[in-house]
Symmetry: C2
Subunit: 212 residues, 2 copies
DNA sequence: GCTACAGTTTCGGCATGCCGAAATCTGTCG
DNA sequence: CGACAGATTTCGGCATGCCGAAACTGTAGC
């Protein structure tokens, strides 16, 4: 598989991310927001991606990945998550520091180097935030998970995944004692961790996934 | 020090490389050849670099680095060589395989990650090809060295440095038993390694440096 | 069934980095 | 000293990725 330009990889990765834990295809405007670009820019790029067979898109409709596009996206995600895991396990990074570094390295690392890293780490299948690391063949382990925001009050589960998007949030959570693997119950705008009630920042609702 | 764009780093690195083992400033045409670009492109870019205070250049003249430019160039070289050392020492690369990977990673690695790598390796001061690794403060250990091509017949010295530019050459040399640290005598279009005469590829003359 | 509006696309424009052809300069040789 | 060769620069052009303003769609609500 030929490597794509960083910009293309970012588009594919973002489209993929949108469907990883939910189901629906992404709209151009949502994609623009996620990428921090103007909608018109996204329209143009999506047209090129469609011409390249990476994405399918009908005018005024939502965007989804083709098989080829999905394969490329998964490869980028694999690189990102293996790099994050490596940074934490071997290079002395904490989990809230790895995102930006991985964001750059995911576009720079060769297959050869990635294989070395994977090997050294013993082929891990989760990164430090609980995200599944796609296998080299593109298969991704999938679990039933509920976004905290969408969980009903009283729901109890273990924290399966915490988005690495905001490092401030990760530090907050760490300070509150919430980590991947913690068991919590959902309360109104907060969460019960054992017997203590923990208030959460506003963006936690869309960043934490619990087991069903 | 603000990071520069990859293109700018490549220009600075190449200008620096030209003066690292010799003395004279580089001409626009030589720079164009090294970078694989048209001379007109180099002229334009050099104008921008000069405006940014990274390079000094008078019309129709040679190009040299300002103090700021040198500092940035040295930082890139440091990243490149530390990455190469890391790839060989920890990631199972051989010395002829590291160049291309380092060429990409030198633009992608943060100061934070570089510091971790440096630390893990115990602050090495040479890379696998014998090139000095600039210190974090920008100082570079310098040795008296003679380019093989310019060494007189009969000159005997140890191999201090072998350019990593051509991996084919590195493999040839390895097969011939020539490595950094080998002691050789210069003969006509060849070299004496102990008592065996070793013919060298044409490009070896500009790739190998011997102790004076 | 029609209309309004939110979302999407088109269009002209801008910056960057590159190229080739043409103009210009410099140093050298006669 | 003057003209030539080779190096350098200028100039017009091209591709990419981005933007804002304006034109267009499709659907939700009346």
């Amino acid at each position: 598989m030929k490597p794509s330009k960083p910009v293309v990889e970012d588009y594919l990765k973002t489209i993929y991310a949108h469907t990883e834990w939910q189901a629906d295809a992404i709209t151009p405007s949502a994609l623009a927001v996620r990428l921090g670009l103007a909608p018109s820019t996204v329209t143009e790029m999506v047209k090129k991606l469609a011409a390249a067979g990476l994405v399918s898109h009908v005018r005024y409709g939502a965007i989804s990945l083709t098989e080829t596009g999905r394969a490329k996206a998964v490869a980028v995600v694999r690189r990102h998550r293996l790099v994050e895991t490596w940074l934490v396990r071997e290079m002395g990074y904490s989990w809230d520091e790895v995102h930006d570094e991985a964001e750059v390295l995911e576009h720079a690392i060769s297959d050869r180097l990635l294989a070395s890293i994977d090997e050294r780490l013993g082929h891990p299948d989760r990164d430090p935030h609980g995200d599944p690391i796609p296998a080299a063949n593109g298969s991704v382990r999938r679990e039933r998970a509920v976004l905290l925001e969408e969980a009903e009050r009283g729901h109890t589960g273990t924290v399966l995944r915490i988005s690495d998007r905001s490092s401030a949030l990760l530090r907050d959570l760490e300070a509150s004692g919430i980590d991947v693997g913690s068991t919590v119950s959902v309360d109104e705008g907060a969460v019960l961790l054992g017997s203590t009630r923990v208030e959460l920042p506003a963006d936690a609702g869309t960043a934490i996934w619990l087991s069903a």
